[in-house]
Every structure is written in C-alpha cells, then in structure tokens.
C-alpha cells in the first residue's frame, strides 16, 4: 500500500515547497493542485477500504524507528526552545518529562524489538482519510482567498503566508500519519507534530493574546500527550512488545489493553478538548478562521476522538469506558449550555464543537457497536457541517467586519447565498432530516441499552443537551433571517475560491445526508463486523424510508415559497400603535427617535459561562483523576 506512504509524504512535500515559495500565484497553483491530489488520493484510499479488509504495511526501510525517535527529540527540543524563550516553564517541564519517558520507551523498544507492520488501513482509516483529504484540502484552498483579505485588513500583523501554508499541509501530513499508523510509536510521533503545528497556527496573528492561547493549547496537549509514553511503558513492561501495534493492542482485549488504552484515551480527551481541557479550543479562535476550521472540524480534534474510537471496543462495559463516556456527556451538556451565552459566532462554533466531540466521546466510551456506529456518523457529519459553518462565518466576517451574531441580523437580504449556506450548516447541526440528528437518534438508541444504569445517565444528559442545542442554533438562524430593513444585496466582494468551496461543502452536507445509509452499509457496518464479530441491523429499513420522506419534504418546500410570498400585502410592524416614521424608526418617549433594536437572549443568569465552566472543569478533573487512579490501582494489582 504505497498509497498510505503517498498520503503521508506528499502533503509533506507540498508543505516543503510552500514554505519556500514566495510568489503568490505559484503558491496558489501549488496549493490547489496539492489539495486536489490529496483529495483524490484520500478518496482512492476510501474506495480501497470499501473493497478490502484491513491492510497492513511494513515500511521497507531499516531502522526507521530511530528516525522517528530523532523526530520526536527534535519536536521536543523545539518546544523546549520556544517555551524557554517565552518563559513558559511549565511547558518546558512537561516536555522534559515527556522526553525522559520517551527515552525510556525507546530503550525498552530497542532491547525488545517487535515485528509489527508500521502502517495499516481499514474502513475507519478510509473514512478519516477522506475527511482529512477532502475537507482539509478544501479548507487549504479556501485559505488562499481568505488570507489575502486577512492581511489586507490587518497590515500590522506579519505576513508569513509561505510558512502558514507549509504548516497547513504539514498538518495534513501528520493527520494522515495518525490514522494510518499501526505502530503506536509512530502514531505518537505524528501526534506530537499535530500538537506543534496547532501551536504554530494558533499563534499566527502574533498578538499577545494569540501567543498566550497558543501556549495554552500547547500545554494542555502536552499534558495529555505525556500520558502516551506512560502507556508505552506499561505495554513494554508488562507484556509482549507486539502490543505496541495498535491493531494488536485492540485485539488483545480489555485484560491487557485496558490500562494503556485508558492512558491513551486521556491524551485523546485533551486533544479533543473535553472538559477539563476544553479551554484551549476556545482560545484557539484567535487564529484566522481557516485554521479554526481545520483544527476544529476535520483534523486536530478529530485525532483525539479517532484514537478513542479505535480503543472503543476495549472500553465496552468497563468502568474506565464509562468514566470516559461521562466526561463526554458532561462536556456535551456544559459546552452546549455555555454556547447559549455567547454572541461571538466563532465562540458559539467553538463550544458547539466541544459539545459534539463530547457526544462522540460518550458514544466511544460506552464502546458498544451501536455507540461506535453513531460516533463515526457524528464524526463525518460534524466534520462537514462544521467546516461549512466556520468557513461561511469567516466569509461573512470579512464582509461585515464582525463576528458577532447580532451583527448578522437580516443577513439574508444582504448575502442570500452565504446565508443559505450558513442555514444549511446550522440545520445540519441540529435539525431533523440532517445528519447530526440522525446520529443523535442513533446514540440515544445506543445508550439506552448499554451498561445500565450509566447508559440511561447519558440518555438523560443528551435529552437535556438536545433542548439546549436547539435553543442556540435556532436563535442564530432566527437572527439571520430576521429582516429589519432590507439591505442592498452584495455578494460580489467574496473571492470566487471562497464561494465555490462553500458551495462544495453545502452540497457535500446534503449529499452525505442522502447517502448516509450507503456509508453505513459499505463502510461502518463492515468495520464494526470486524471489530465486534456480530453486528445487529443498526438502522432498520423503515427508518431510512422515513428519513427520505423528510428529506423530500424539505426539498419540496422551497417550491411553495413563490406562491405564498406573492399574495400578501405589506403592512408595517406592530409597535403598539406607534407608527414607524421610517423603517424601524419610531418616536418614543421624550420625543426621541428610536430605532428598533432586537437581540437574542443569552440567558446568562442561568447559563453563565464562568460558573458552568468552573463546575464542569471541576467535574472533568475529578473524573480524569478517577481514571488515572483506577489505572494506577489496576496497574499495581
């Protein structure tokens, strides 16, 4: 399977190229062709995974393990260097600890050399690679137009675009590495690359806030990351060195794998921004929007849930799994609640990302086949819909110069197309015929039967969470379509590349919704079959019929629009009898002319950001400590 090597190395090559290219049009060509090639290759990988069983592949190079180790040392060295420079001594300390642990691991691994294939690919890898390749590629192309405008608007910020695009592609490369690695030492190496890249991308604006938040991201990911070498030590000290292979470890069953899997899952929790680690993701919003889209929809955070999903079969019915699921559940609930109190569009997206990841983590944590089925669907739908949302918000931001949802009032008249796409994205996040809701439905099905009574606990959490989710999404939709004074339609300033990417993503959202049964039959179910041997029919046929009826209804609806708009006569708004002197202006008390101003509710007396995050960080820390305790006790036994 040279394709795997290609997917890892090709983006690396592009990254190298981009880092040196200064000319903008050349960069453009390289980025577009690189993205297209990566996208095609990833789809080919997907196609392969449909047709074949898991493939294993050993890299035909000797002593490549040493190279990986050297790479690890270089990354750590760089981090130590920048953290010392920025006086972030905690970061330095953790990196040093990590390095020491890693040396020990390497020593053990060398003395006890395992013969396992370094790379492998199965249906899950196929799905992930398609997400990374296609959506990641699209985001990179989108970034071309976006970053030009970004620098035009912020002349004070250093323009290091060659490096920027280099890192973006490096990131893709590392993501492919993570999903194709079978050797966990490799996986860790790519893991650390993503951590480093995210740090670099977040601090891109180079403001004090960006730097601070970049270090926060680095710190949290390193804390999580430090758990992985410990897991390696456990593996290498307790058993056969073959278990350093991902596939081998998962197949070994909970008896041997539970403790390392638990430790690696903690790293996954940090990476996927679960409470108590969530604040790095919110802070990362200072970065340019394509970065947010890349980190929070299809890559970075997905690496976290990917690794947990990989180990999900190990967690089935185990206490550690339940605790992980609870962390996911609490995160889902708390992050959704906080999203209500936010008016910054990117923050809403950030919190809803955290919430959705929480749901995925919860599904993985229960570890049943149904749970995993829901988790994978969630990963797919979330990646598409969220990147669509991030990118369209980025576009809007450049047009109206605000990220505030309140400023998007009546956007439907100003930018009807973009608004339509935001609406599709939002609908995709919570409305009935769209994917996220199918997944939510599936996860309810999954939880209700699993590990009583904890499954029911998760069901209750979802029940509350879905009401909350509906609130903040619906009010945003409402804001977009609430028309005070019709504005001049003006979409011409939007770069073509941005627009076309948005079109592709919205089309994808709809296509995937239509196509989800196909995805389920050809990808998810076969994969689950290999993991769980027996798989029940997860979505019965009648439900698919229903889904289609609903989709049909939604599609047919726009046609009735024309008929209804014509017949009505326009009348002014009801203002208790006070006439509108001009549109939206009335004469109020003291003879003052007032403009009608409407804003959404933020309910911050109930859904107070500080209070909720303080409480849930507390719960999160408690649960993590509990997990680690169980591991220590379990390890000691």
């Amino acid at each position: 399977m040279e394709l795997l090597i290609f997917l890892i190395l090709f983006p690396l090559l592009i990254a190298g190229l981009l880092a040196v290219i200064q000319a903008e049009h050349v960069r453009r060509a390289v980025v577009i062709s690189g993205a297209v090639l990566v996208g095609i290759a990833s789809l080919v990988a997907l196609a392969f995974s449909v047709t074949s069983q898991a493939v294993f592949y050993s890299v035909p190079v000797n002593n490549i393990g040493i190279l990986v180790f050297i790479g690890d040392i270089l990354i750590s060295g760089y981090i130590i260097f920048v953290s010392l420079k920025a006086r972030q001594y905690v970061v330095t300390g953790i990196t040093v600890i990590q390095l020491i642990l890693l040396c020990a691991v390497e020593y053990l691994a060398l003395t006890n050399h395992a013969h396992i294939p370094e790379l492998f690919s199965d249906q899950l890898s196929g799905i992930m690679s398609a997400i990374i390749g296609v959506i990641g590629g699209l985001i990179c192309v989108y970034a071309l137009g976006y970053m030009r405008e970004y620098h035009a608007e912020h002349p004070d910020r250093p323009d290091t675009r060659p490096r920027f695009f280099g890192i973006m592609f490096l990131f893709l490369s590392a993501m492919f590495g993570i999903i194709f690695s079978n050797n966990l030492l490799w996986l860790f190496f790519f893991w650390e690359i993503t951590t480093l890249c995210s740090y670099l991308l977040i601090r891109y604006p180079n403001t004090d806030e960006a730097i601070k938040n970049a270090f926060r991201a680095l710190l949290f990911n390193l804390i999580g990351g430090a758990c992985i070498p410990i897991a390696f030590l456990v593996i290498l000290l307790t058993g056969e060195s073959e278990l350093i292979g991902l596939h081998e470890l998962v197949s070994a069953g909970p008896g041997l794998a539970l403790i390392p899997a638990g430790l690696i899952a903690v790293a996954g929790l940090a990476k996927s921004a679960q409470f108590p680690f969530s604040s790095w993701l919110v802070g990362a919003m200072v970065a340019p929007t394509p970065v947010s889209a890349l980190l929070h929809s299809s890559t970075m955070v997905k690496a976290g849930v990917y690794i947990i999903a990989r180990f999900a079969p190990v967690f089935e019915g185990e206490l550690i799994g339940i605790l992980i699921a609870l962390i996911g559940g609490i995160t889902f609930l708390a992050a959704s609640a906080i999203a209500i109190s936010q008016s910054n569009a990117k923050k809403v997206l950030a919190y809803s990302t955290i919430a959705n990841l929480g749901l995925i983590v919860a599904c993985c944590g229960v570890g049943t086949a149904e749970g995993l089925w829901a988790a994978i669907l969630l990963i797919i739908f979330h990646a598409i819909a969220k990147s669509l949302l991030f990118l369209s918000v980025g576009t809007v931001e450049h047009q109206i110069h605000s990220r505030n949802i309140e400023d998007m009032s009546g956007l439907v008249t100003k930018m009807p197309r973009i608004t339509m796409m935001i609406l599709i994205g939002i609908a995709g996040m919570f409305l009935a015929p769209f994917g996220m809701l199918i997944s939510k439905w599936a996860s309810l099905h999954a939880f209700v039967e699993s590990v009583p009574p904890f499954g029911i606990l998760l069901v209750i959490i979802i029940a509350y969470g879905s009401g909350i989710t509906a609130f903040f999404w619906a009010k945003w939709m409402g804001k977009l379509i609430a028309v005070g004074e019709p504005q001049q339609k003006d979409e011409s300033h939007i770069p073509g590349s941005e627009k076309s990417i948005l079109y592709i993503l919205s089309a994808l959202t709809i296509v995937v919704c239509f196509g989800f049964p196909v995805i389920s039959w050809y990808l998810i179910e076969p994969w689950l079959l290999t993991m769980y041997q027996s798989v029940t029919e997860l979505i019965s046929l009648s439900n698919i019929e229903i889904m289609f009826m609903m989709l049909f209804l939604v599609l047919i609806m726009p046609f009735s629009l024309a008929r209804f708009t014509r017949s009505a006569t326009r009348v002014p708004r009801y203002l208790c009898g006070i006439p509108e002197s001009e549109t939206m202006v009335f004469t109020g008390s003291c003879g003052i002319k007032r403009e009608i101003e409407l804003s959404n509710y933020y309910l911050d007396t109930i859904f107070c950001e500080k209070r909720i995050s303080r409480i849930s960080v507390g719960i999160g820390i408690f649960l993590i400590v509990l997990i680690l305790n169980i591991i220590i006790v379990g390890g000691g036994l």
């Binding site: 009583p452 606990l457 209750i460 509906a470 609430a482 439900n543 009735s560 629009l561 209804f564």
Partner: protein
C-alpha cells in the same frame, strides 16, 4: 392497521377531533369562569374565518415558514399514528416548532421577536422530558416503534408513573396553557400582546391555529401510549388529563420564564429521569 391508512385517517380526522376538543375546552373554561362560552364549533369558525381574510404580512417569507410548520406538524402526527419511530416523531415535532419560531423571527418586530425567544425557551424546557418519555416507553416496550407500543398488553403507566407525571407537567407548555403560556396565549391580555403570533394574520394565522389543533391531537396520542392497548382506559385518561389541564389553566397565573424552565427541568429530572433511571437499575 396499514400505516398509510392510519396516517391518512389522522390527517382527515385530527382536525375534527381537535376542533371538538378545543371547542369543549373553551366552553368548559368559560363555565369555570362563570360564563356561557362560545359554540362547540367555534375553533372551526375561527379557522375558516381566518382563511377568508385578506393576507397581510411584514415580509412574505413569514407565511412560508408557517406553511412548513403546519406541514411538519401534520407529518409528525402522521408518522406517529402510522406507528413510526417515536424518536423521529419527536425530532420532526421539534423541527416543526423551529419553523414556527423562524416565522416569528422573520418580521423583526419586537413582540414577535420576544415571542420567538420565549417559544425557544419553551422548546428547551420541554425537550428533555419528551425524549425521556420516549426512552421510558422504550424501556417498557423494548421498541421505539409507536406501532409496537400501542400493542403493549399491560399498562406501561404502572412502570412509568414519574414519566407520566413529568409529561403532564410539560403538556401544559405544549397546550399553551397557563401557567406556561409564555410565548403566546389564547387570550390577549399578556405582556407580549400575541407574542410569537403577533405579526401573523389571516391565512397564516389560520395555519397556525390548524397546526395547534393537530399538535393537540398528537400530544393526546402520547397519553394513549401510556395505556398500551387498553383503549377504554386511555380514552378516560385523555378526558381526565384534559379536564385537569383546563382546571390548572384556570387556577394559575402565568409564571416568569425562569420559573417555567427551572421547574420544568426540575420535574423532568426528579420525576422523569428518576423514573427511567430506576427502571434501568431494576
């Protein structure tokens, strides 16, 4: 019964049943207030009247969203009576309400806007309990299909007393009855004028009224599920619950949204969640 036949029957019969129930509700309310009240068919007259009026709107798009609302409420009911997956019924129901809310938002009028926000608060308040109802019924029936639930030979309510209680509590929200008629109410004297429906008139308002009637029937259908295949008992229960709702409507003032949502969530947690949690342990 053939699911398509059942759905068709619902679409045709629900307005009849709904109008009668609403009409009787209005008479009973009037009698409780020491008045005579309107004729039984008054809701029907109202809807027909609204369809006769000339259409006015702030923006034409309003009607579109309300049309979607009506369609999805009807769809929800059809799905329900066809015996579909109850979770999907609930999601379609939510979808319908989101359309209502969007319709209210469109006009950018202060009262409709606040009504829409309150409508969303109500949605948020009842959503957990409705999902818990579905889960509780699943625990009893081992199936999410309404079609299976109505064939339950026993009385699910015996296992789900808390869930039933919680459901009745949030039914007040769904029927837009005092003390939880936050977003819009049947009579005019409220701080929001007509809340979310302020900017609708004529045909559009007629569609809303019709949708409310369908909604009522669906909500009463949920009560049925608590009594399995015992038709007689469920009919009695529906009557008793309706009378109880009307009584509560007449014995309370409207509460603030904070009290509404916290009390609904509290009841959901204690009665609803407690009940299904206990069931899962057993």
């Amino acid at each position: 019964m053939n699911p398509f036949l059942a759905a068709a029957l619902f679409i045709i019969l629900a307005p009849v049943v709904g109008v009668l129930i609403t009409g009787l509700d209005r008479i009973l309310t009037a009698r409780m207030q020491g008045r005579v009240g309107p004729p039984v068919l008054q809701p029907w007259y109202d809807i027909r009247k609204l369809f006769q009026k000339k259409q006015v709107a702030v923006w034409g798009a309003q009607s579109f969203f309300i049309f979607c609302y009506l369609i999805f409420i009807i769809f929800t009911g059809a799905l329900f009576f066809a015996g579909g997956d109850i979770l999907l019924v609930i999601f379609a129901f939510t979808l319908g309400h989101v359309f209502l809310v969007l319709g209210a938002y469109v006009s950018y009028s202060p009262y409709a806007h606040i009504g829409a926000e309150r409508e969303l608060i109500q949605l948020m308040a009842v959503e957990p309990m409705i999902i818990i109802v579905a889960i509780g019924l699943y625990q009893v029936n081992d199936s999410f299909l309404v079609g299976d639930m109505i064939n339950h030979p026993g009385l699910p309510i015996l296992l789900l007393p808390g869930v039933f209680l919680g459901f009745i509590y949030i039914l007040t929200f769904k029927l837009r009855k005092s003390p939880f008629d936050l977003a819009t109410s049947h009579h005019a004297h409220q701080e929001l004028v007509k809340g979310s429906t302020t900017e609708f008139s004529g045909f559009t308002l007629g569609m809303i009224e019709l949708a409310h009637i369908y909604e009522l029937v669906v909500m009463l259908g949920f009560i049925w599920l608590f009594f399995g295949n015992n038709l007689f008992l469920s009919a009695v229960a529906i009557v008793v619950i309706m009378v109880l709702e009307i009584l509560v409507d007449n014995c309370t003032s409207r509460v603030r949204w904070q009290d509404a949502i916290t009390s609904a969530w509290f009841v959901t947690l204690v009665a609803g969640a407690g009940n299904i949690f206990a069931l899962s342990i057993m």
